[in-house]
Symmetry: C2
Subunit: 242 residues, 2 copies
Amino acid sequence: MRALTALSERSVPTVSSEELAAAAGVNSAKLRKDFSYLGSYGTRGVGYDVEYLVYQISRELGLTQDWPVVIVGIGNLGAALANYGGFSARGFRVAALIDADPAMAGKPVAGMPVQHTDDLEKIISENGVSIGVIATPAGAAQQVSERLIAAGVTSILNFAPTVLSVPEGVDVRKVDLSIELQILAFHEQRKAGEEAAAAAAGGSSSVGGAAAAAAVVPPAGRTAAEQRKGGPEGDVPAVMPA
Amino acid sequence: MRALTALSERSVPTVSSEELAAAAGVNSAKLRKDFSYLGSYGTRGVGYDVEYLVYQISRELGLTQDWPVVIVGIGNLGAALANYGGFSARGFRVAALIDADPAMAGKPVAGMPVQHTDDLEKIISENGVSIGVIATPAGAAQQVSERLIAAGVTSILNFAPTVLSVPEGVDVRKVDLSIELQILAFHEQRKAGEEAAAAAAGGSSSVGGAAAAAAVVPPAGRTAAEQRKGGPEGDVPAVMPA
DNA sequence: TCATGTGAAAGTTTTCACAGCA
DNA sequence: TGCTGTGAAAACTTTCACATGA
């Protein structure tokens, strides 16, 4: 979708699966197969109409409608989220900012007055909000989630470092900022291990009890699109069988 | 690892693959197979020693060492990251906060004086930093990444809404806050579609050209551990073959 | 006796390669 | 001719089920 949007902005009329795959850093056959599940939106011998494809995928991903969201907990992170331009650019409208601190009430953040938690239920129902963002301290998160859900929210993006317990039918996504760092650290460690291994090539290595430094992820040429989610390989650090 | 840490905090001495799998919401056979790649750390008939397993996995994930990181761009998000307790709790030490605004220099954020970009190279080398966090505006990110890399950083966590172009050997993870919302919105849309489908059960549905609402992700019972990454199924919205 | 560790089976995803159509 | 759409093959992941050992 990112690659497509970029093409659309450059007013490129059509694109082949090969070109789009290169831009997105995926295999062209996979891209075609994936698109085929949505329907036959391409033209043989020509490629895909960029605008049409953008529309079809947007629709499929639910980006054609406008989603009102509330952000609860307007600390540093909440304020950062409120100011984050990417939301409005992608079909999300920040309907309200909510905080439990009475001193925050009325204060403008990102050009919008912060409202008090007391009005949470009213705000949710009046705006037809179904997606809530929790950026409160860990201690408040569970309670906030319960109030959000009782008021009608069915999807929650949780930045608080707690696992929320929610009824079935409610989706929770947890963003753990430190996990991203952990994944980088994992690969950093591997790099160090590889260097050491290369330096001591052939030497008598003292392996403790496991395949600690022995299992090495193949470096492989990195394409721009692997930045989709980052690290050398996938999302989860892979430990290869021996 | 989360499940294990919880057991460790409750001073549970040993755990079977079955128990741990239930707590983590995964299949016990998979858990055993995964562990087997790290080594044979269990005892047949007994299970796994919690502390020992925590240690082994920590080591494998690179959590036993302390990683100094710098945060560049001390706006709302940068400040939020600096204040985020989760980092220090997981083996990361914020070595420095760096901002390009001279007015920020010296200001304390999270009990630490903000330093000016001019000193970036010096800070990196003196602290032996290999992981950098970019929380600058999009326009500054590429340049900042280049300076970080030139100074010796080999892993970057990028919060700026830009794709960074980096030399081979440097890892970049991009955190796109709006993508999380998009995934929630995708599932929201599905929920709405399922309701509509249930309401009009048996009726003559007008399918446009594709399997729009036709492809439905099975709701399935949700376990706590699915919150690892959120949505009903995996990371990426799945469209099922017909 | 109980739970690990692991071959083998089942299931899923990705890639190949080419028929078919504009 | 050129590129899509897709069966079939290959690669990979997950689960089963049981021999093995504490």
